[in-house]
Structure formats: C-alpha cells, structure tokens
C-alpha cells in the first residue's frame, strides 16, 4: 500500500504561480445583485411564516387566544406550542446543541431569554400579515425568575431556571449546571511547587455575537412525500429531519425519507457558525418543514428578524487562573477554573505548549441570555491563553514574545522533541512560532516600540502600548473524515468540481479550483465549481463555509485529480474504441499520441504533451473528450476519499499541532476618556500551505477586525431588573465599520506543518478568535494596569486607572 502522507505531497512544478491569479467564479453574481441568498428565494404560491419573540427573559405562556389573529385576512395557519404536532418536538438530537449537553424544543411554551423565538408560529400571505397577526395574539404569561450571571447560576442553592430544557450530559448537576468537568495533564500541584512564583487572577468576559447580516430564513416545500428545502445554514440539515426524538425520549418518525429530501444551499450572508446558532437554525429548519407540511404543497418561507441573530452568543464566562512560572518565563503549571460554556478551555494551550502540568476545570450553567456557545471557534480558550503569557511576562519583566517562545511545544513536549517528530514523519524541520513572531515583530516594529508597561507617553498626551498574542489555528488540522468527498468530471477540457455550494464568503471554492488546476495541469480558468443539490446523500464536498473548508477538501481533491490525470494520459496513448451510435465514432481511431506510453506524456496549461518533445502537444479537450461517451470513467465523477489521518498507514491519535499564528497591535490610550485607539495591527498566519492568497487575506482582515471588536467594543447588555436585552440591534451593538480601524498588515507563513495536502491547515478560525483578547495586552503595556473584564470599553479603562 502506498504510504498515505498528504503533507509530503508537492504541488506540481510550475503550477505554483497559478494561485497568484485566482479570480472568483461568483464575482459577477455578487456585484450585480444576481447572487440569490436564501432570503431571495421566491416560489410560486409561497406563504410566509414568523415566530413570536418572547418579551420576557423567562416566562411561561399559560394561555394563548389566537381568535383575533386567525380572523385577520391573509392568515393561513397558526401553530401553537401546545399543538400535539409540535408540543414534544425537540427538533434535534442533543449533539448540535451545546455539543451534546442539552436539548431544546422546536417551539417551546416557555421563553428562556428575551426575544426567544417561541410559543406560536403564524403562516400568512406576507411577512407583514404575520407580524400583525402575532401582535393580535392574546397571551397570558407567567413570569419566572431569571438569572443573567453564570456564577450565580451554578451555585447549588440557585433558583432552578429553564427546567423544561433537557439536561442530557451525565455530568449535569442540579439546579442549573449543564456540565461540570475537570481535566488534568501531569500534576499541577507538582508544577506549582517547582515554580519561582505562583500568580492568581480572574478574567471575565461578557457575551458577544456573530451578528451576521442575513437574518435566518428557510424555505420548505413538499411535493407529496418529497421535501425540498432552501436553507440559510452552514451545514446540510437533512439528518436532523430524520433522526429526532421527542422531549419524552420517544422516537418521532422521520419527517421525510432521507432519499426524498433535496436541500439547496443558496449564497450565505456572513455566517460564522456557532453551535448555539446551528441548534437554533436546525430547530428553525425543522419548524419550517412542519409548517410547510400543513400548507398543502405550498412553499413556506420562515423568517427571523435581524434581532434574532443575536440569540447566538459567545465568550461569556469567568476564569479563575492560577499560574506557576520560573523567573526565565518557563511556565511549570496552570489551572484555569472556568465558569463558562463549551469545554474547559485548555485544549489549545495543551496542543501548543510544552507546559507539562495543566488543569482545566469547568462549570457551565444556564443563564437567561440565549444559549451561549461559540462562533468562529470562540475565544473561550484563546483569551486565558493570551493573558497567561502576558501575566508571566509582566511578573518577571520579560518581553511576552520571549515567554511565548520559551513555552512553545506540543502536548507537553518541547520543540526539540517536535523537531525530531518532524524529521521522523516527513515534515520539514520548521519552528512555526519563531517564524511568525519574527515576521510580526518586523511588520509592527516591535523591537523598537515595545517598552516596559506604562512608560511611554506620546506627544498627544496619550499612553502608547504594544500588544501581542499567539496561538495555533484550529486543532483539527487534518483531512476530513469519510463524509467529505471530491468529485470531478472532465468535459470539453473543463474540469468541473461537483459539490454542494454553501460558501459564506470564505471562498474555499477558488482554492479548490486552484488545486485541481495545478494537479491536473489545467489552466485555472479551465476549472469550474459545478453546483450540486444534495440529494439522497450524506456526503458533501466540503463542509460548506465551515471551520475546515480548505484543509478538509484539498486532500481529497488532489487524490481525485491525480486519478483523473492518470486516466487522461492513458487515453492519450490508446486508440479510441468504436462506439455504436449514429452520432458518434463508427470506427476505431488511432491514439492521440501514437506509440507513446502514458509515462512519456504530461499535462500543462491544459495541453497534453510529450515530455521528450514538448512541441508534440494536443489540448486536453482533444485528447479526453473523444472518450466521453465511450468511457464513463471520464464522464462520471472520480471520487477520492480520505479516512481519518494516519501516520505510516496506522491510525494515529497523535496529530501534533505544529503551526502557529501571531498577532500584534499598537494602541494609544487616552487616560482622560478611557478611549483606546488601535493604530496599528499586524497579523501573521501560518497556513501550512497557501492555496488562495486573496481568500487568506480576506480571512485575516475580517478575523482581525472581528477579534478586535470582541476584545474592545462588542458586548451584549441586559437590564439586570427585567432581563431584557438592551442592544440586540446593529445601532447599539458596536461593530467597527470603515473608519474605525487601521489597515491590517497581513503576513502569511507557509511552514507545511499541517497533516492535509501539502502540509496545509488553514486560517479562518484563528484571527477572529485570537485577537479577541489582545487589547488587554496592549492596554497593560500602555498603562501598567490590567483590564481583565472584557470587552475593554472606555468605562472599564477608566475604572482600571482609578478614575471612576
């Protein structure tokens, strides 16, 4: 068996330059208004549906009278939470919601947070009639006590909230703890004993949101027992239509047979994933399907308002941190106790340091703020990571970049060990962190500008500060498991990559085209993405717009392209068989390259040529097209599959995350107003292997600004007395626009240290999550004061400075 080591593959010689001229296939549509997003789907006879938004943070509907609403002209259907068709429908298994920790009802009768879509759904001739009908509902509510502070929620004597939401994690605790976890590597007690100093501090983060631009929407239509769905979603949502269970643990029959569901993923308006949002959108999709089932074949378009996009929240939590370190900056142990969502937050630091003694403990409690998990990976782990290195550097008067390098490693192993691992397993011997730090320092002028904390006042009276953080890109840096496939067909000399499109804008597609072009020897413009609707398939070409797009798919695409190229060269050397059709060849035709063997030939710039005599050439179209109707192997998809990563052909649980990312900012802090101006940003991303320069750049820009927003300005505010959200809108939730941030200096490093094709891993998750703690680092350098209560808004700065 050929050794399967995609990171050792090399891009065919000469094709490397192709990626410099990538143009997006979807550009014309996107600038001309022709790109159809899910909101833009209009079907004949379509009805509209909307759901009630709860006006209370936590309240039960005790009665609902829909008489007036039903009488409104244009209202076609009303479904209430207590209807037997929906009353126990969870819509989704526990997996999606909070990674398997609890289940939510598709249409609950109790609101868990302000603006919770719940209670009743209306179907009508227009969205406006739906809105009017919802206002005509006569509802009696029983308000319930609510909790906004998670530290309160996890106390054993807290009032029980959200009692109808099923806790399904075995580690759930009464009354409100969803998960309690404790993970330890090595012995932190031993590590603390070895330290020169043990420092303790607490970090707090308020909730922030993805706040995407296209509000949620789903169109569903039944054709007898066949179901068509148009989904604003980053995943293919058939499976949760198939495998639901109800809130009593009973099986619910599938809404439709798997083979009879067709899903179309139109263009997606900025979608950043997020488990809680995915859960909502799954319930939401399910509800659209149920409403359409009642609509007698008419399509139903279910929509949320933009404010509903704020039900996705991230980053909330507190972290009590204890860190032991030696005077030279070597960290001997740390323990973070997190009261927050997801998992104990140590995963990235464990992956990307040599720190031998690590402990993460966690309590995750319900709060009435919307279900909180993460988006764009989330900063639950990046923020405590950033702060720890800064704290240690500050404690011993060290440069934080030096502290980072001192502790770099993989899962407790130091970099010497990693270098040996690289050598033994065919990786280049590179030290990614050193490389990205050097590039970033140079870009931002760190060596000249960094100074001891609180020591530099600018002529304009403001304090000058430099901030730094480093971490690895997403942990799973390998090709996808079996559900991802690559599917190519070649006709008229054009290679079509056939797959489900659901590109949220990250443009994994151009990377895919580039890979196929270089591997097959085609010109980039002789490749296309050929959109396929999902039918009767649990395979998809790439996780659409998700966290792993490029690294997931390119390995399979290379395999498929190699296979296809081999076929083309074989055909070039053999006669074309006769084909018994009035329209096609009647007689055997001589080979395109008589007397040559496949190994004598190659393909470049869409031409097949003889290696020994490159002037002997024919286009791929001439060579391959003639076989199209006689050999389905060319016409039909070539499928490449890749199982989970193996090293030396064996399943390998130890994929070491060797790529690193480093980010730097420069700020000016106004000590009178607390305003923090970010004046300079440098992002250095090691992507392993770069496929699409413009796509990578866009991720750096977009992620950097999102990260800075999460670190410095973005937070949700709730009224502590009513639990009402005060800024679930784009006016009061502060996201930067054109004038707010300087140009980001973007640098890319290619270390080839990933496990996917050519050593790639990716970029999309990192900047958005990594920079979400960086302002603290720079403000500390400017003022000598810590702000560990995120986001670092002016009031918090003034508080830290003792001004208020």
């Amino acid at each position: 068996m050929e050794e399967y080591r995609p990171w050792t593959w090399k891009i065919p010689e000469g094709s490397e330059n192709d990626k410099r001229k990538i143009s997006r296939q979807d550009a014309h549509e996107r600038v001309s208004g022709k790109a159809a997003f899910t909101r833009d789907i209009y079907l004949p006879g379509m009805l509209y549906a909307k759901i009630l938004n709860s006006p209370y943070a936590h309240a039960k509907i005790t009665s609902i009278d829909v008489t007036k609403a039903r009488a409104l002209p244009g209202v076609r259907d009303i479904l209430t939470f207590d209807d037997p068709e929906i009353s126990h429908d969870t819509g989704i298994g526990a997996w999606y919601e909070a990674s398997g920790n609890y289940n939510i009802l598709t249409l609950p009768g109790i609101s868990d947070f302000f603006q919770h879509p719940m209670g009743v759904a209306v179907v009508a001739d227009s969205e406006e009639i739906c809105d009017r009908a919802l206002r005509l509902m006569e509802i009696k509510w029983e308000e319930r006590p609510f909790i906004l502070d998670m530290e309160e929620s996890v106390k054993p004597d807290a009032v029980k909230i959200m009692s109808e939401v099923q806790r399904v994690n075995a580690k759930a605790k009464e009354p409100n703890t969803v998960v309690a976890d404790d993970v330890e590597y090595g012995s932190v007690e031993k590590g603390f004993a070895e330290a020169d100093k043990v420092i303790e501090y607490k970090i707090k983060r308020e909730v922030n949101s993805a706040a995407g631009v296209e509000p949620a929407v789903c169109v569903a239509q039944w054709r007898n027992d066949f179901l068509d769905i148009w989904a604003h979603h980053q995943d293919i949502p058939q499976w949760f239509l198939i495998y639901p269970q109800d809130s009593r643990g009973k099986h619910i029959p599938p809404l439709a047979d798997w083979a009879k569901i067709t899903v179309t993923m139109p263009y997606q308006g900025s979608y950043y994933g997020g488990f809680s949002w995915l859960a909502y959108s799954c319930c939401f999709t399910r509800l659209a399907v149920i409403l359409a089932r009642r609509a007698d074949g008419r399509p139903v378009k279910l929509t949320y308002d933009e404010s509903n996009h704020f039900v996705l929240g991230d980053d909330a939590g507190t972290y009590k941190c204890k860190v032991g370190a030696k005077k030279d900056g070597t960290i001997t142990a740390f323990h973070w106790h997190m009261v927050g969502v997801r998992n104990p937050a140590i995963e990235k630091t464990y992956e990307a340091t040599k720190i031998p003694n690590i402990r993460g403990s966690q309590e995750w409690g319900f709060v009435n703020k919307g279900h909180l998990i993460c988006f764009r990976h989330g900063s639950h782990c990046t923020v405590p990571h950033t702060v720890m290195f800064d704290k240690v550097a500050a404690e011993f008067g060290l440069d934080p970049t030096e502290v980072a390098l001192k502790n770099d490693g993989c899962r407790g192993h130091d970099w010497n060990w990693v270098t040996r691992y690289q050598k033994e397993n065919g990786f280049p011997q590179r030290w990614s962190l050193k490389e990205v730090i050097d590039l970033g320092k140079e870009a931002i002028g760190w060596s000249k500008k960094w100074h001891p904390p609180g020591t530099k006042k600018l002529p304009n009276g403001k304090m000058h500060g430099m901030g730094f953080m480093q971490i690895n890109e997403w942990t799973w840096q390998s090709p996808a498991p079996a559900m991802t496939y690559a599917c190519l067909s070649l006709r008229n000399g054009i290679a079509a990559i056939i797959g489900v499109r659901s590109d949220i804008g990250v443009d994994a597609e151009s990377a895919a085209r580039s890979v196929v072009a270089s591997e097959l020897g085609l010109k980039y413009e002789d490749t296309v993405i050929h959109e396929k609707r999902v039918e009767n398939s649990n395979f998809y070409m790439w996780q659409p717009g998700g966290s792993f797009s490029t690294a997931y798919i390119t390995t399979q695409l290379v395999m498929a392209a190699k296979e296809l190229k081999k076929k083309v060269l074989e055909y070039a050397a053999k006669p074309t068989p006769a084909y018994n059709s009035p329209h096609f060849l009647k007689t055997v035709q001589p080979p395109a390259f008589p007397g040559k063997k496949p190994e004598d030939l190659d393909i470049k710039d869409s031409m097949v040529f003889e290696k020994a005599n490159p002037r002997n050439r024919k286009s791929v179209r001439e060579v391959a097209d003639i076989f199209w109707d006689v050999d389905p192997a060319i016409a039909h998809p070539v499928v490449g599959t890749a199982d989970m990563m193996t090293v030396d052909g064996k399943p390998d649980p130890n994929q070491y995350v060797m790529g690193r990312q480093a980010h730097f900012i420069e700020v000016e802090v106004d000590a009178e107003t607390g305003m923090v101006d970010v004046t300079n940003v440098a992002c250095v991303n090691d992507v392993g292997h770069l496929f699409n320069p413009e796509g990578a750049l866009a991720q750096q820009y977009g992620g950097a600004i999102m990260g800075l927003g999460r670190s410095g300005t973005e937070e949700h505010v709730w009224c502590p007395r009513t639990g009402v959200a005060l800024n679930h809108d784009l006016i009061n939730y502060h996201i930067g626009t054109m004038n707010d941030y300087p140009v980001v200096q973007c640098r890319i490093n290619e270390s080839h240290l990933g496990y996917a094709a050519f050593g790639s891993f990716g970029i999309g998750e990192n900047p958005g999550a990594a920079l979400s703690g960086i302002t603290t680092s720079a403000i500390y350098n400017a003022t000598g004061k810590w702000i560990l209560d995120y986001p670092t808004t002016p009031d918090r700065v003034l508080k830290a400075l003792g001004k208020i």
């Binding site: 143009s23 997006r24 979807d26 550009a27 014309h28 549509e29 996107r30 600038v31 001309s32 208004g33 022709k34 790109a35 159809a36 997003f37 909101r39 833009d40 209009y42 001739d125 227009s126 406006e128 993805a210 706040a211 995407g212 631009v213 296209e214 509000p215 263009y267 997606q268 308006g269 900025s270 979608y271 950043y272 308002d305 933009e306 590109d503 949220i504 804008g505 990250v506 443009d507 413009e694 866009a698 820009y701 977009g702 950097a704 600004i705 999102m706 809108d729 784009l730 006016i731 996201i735 626009t737 054109m738 004038n739 140009v743 980001v744």
Partner: protein, 166 residues
C-alpha cells in the same frame, strides 16, 4: 389633501405605476421601499438586514442620494427616480458598471450580502464627487456595515474608480 390612489416610481429607467391598496401587487401604505422593490417588483438585488437604518445594506439611490430603503415608505416615493443594483449594469450590453467591475477586480466582497449597498453608496458619492479622497470615501461608506470586513478592498476598488480620469 386628497389621498393619493397610486404611486409612480421610475426604477432603473422603467416607470412603475402601482395602485395603493391591500391586494396582491398593490402598495400598502405601510410598505417600505425595500418591501416594494423585493416583494412587489422582484428586484431582490437590494438586500435587507437590520430593517432600522443601521447597516446600510438596503441602500439604493433616490434622486441622486444614497438612501436606506428600509426606512422609507413607498408612498413617500411618488415621482421619484430610483436606481438599484440591478440598474447599474449597462442594460443593453450587460457590461458591468466601472464600480462593479472594480469590485470584481479587487475582490471587494466576501459573502457579498452587503455588497449591493456598498456599491450604491459609492456610486452616489462618485456621482456627486467624482474624485473623492480616501478620507471622503471612508466617511461616505462608514454607515455601511460589513461583518466579513471587505472594507479594505472596497476602499481600494472605489479609489481605483475615483482616480480614473483625474
């Protein structure tokens, strides 16, 4: 003043006379311009997001000014000349407007949901001030929200058009 019975809009060079009423295809007095464009006339190139004037995504040009179509009632638009993203291309040849082409050339979008609004805002700016400075462009576009952050490429794209013929 007698209640008006219909509104006449000139959209992308075409006259639309629309009756006011609550039947299908009519203009309800509560209809916003974006509703009429998208739902009544099928011009879905203009996108809707916040619905409250915050994001600039629904921007169209009305009588030479960039306006948020979610904040304007259609009945207020009687007699107005409106350009949407669909009206920017050369409608005979299909050639993209230079601004649209610049957005393609600089890949000044990611998901593209905010792009029609960005382009229309920039178009209104360039119509009024063909050679704006970088600061003027930033100011004009500072009300256009882009969560993907295509700002940097947008700026380059608009600057490239602004600099032509200087």
């Amino acid at each position: 003043m007698a209640a008006i019975k219909s509104v006449t809009l000139k959209i992308n060079g075409q006259i639309h006379e629309l009756d006011i009423g609550s039947k299908v295809g009519q203009i309800d007095p509560a209809d916003t311009l974006i509703h009429t464009l998208r739902e009544t006339l099928g011009l879905t190139g203009t996108k809707a997001s916040c619905g409250n004037g915050a994001c600039g995504i629904c921007t169209v040009i009305m009588d030479s000014k960039a306006v948020p179509s979610c904040k304007i009632l259609t009945i207020e638009c009687d007699g107005k000349e409106i350009t949407t993203i669909e009206g920017l291309r050369n409608l005979k040849t299909g050639t993209l407007h230079p601004l649209q082409q610049a957005f393609v050339d600089f890949t000044a979008f990611q998901c593209g949901f905010c792009t029609p609004g960005m382009i229309m805002t920039a178009k209104a700016l360039l119509d009024e001030n063909p050679h704006p400075s970088e600061e003027e462009i930033k100011d004009a576009l500072s009300g256009n929200f882009c969560r993907c952050v295509s700002h940097y490429q947008v700026l380059k794209a608009v600057l490239s058009v602004a600099e032509k013929g200087r």
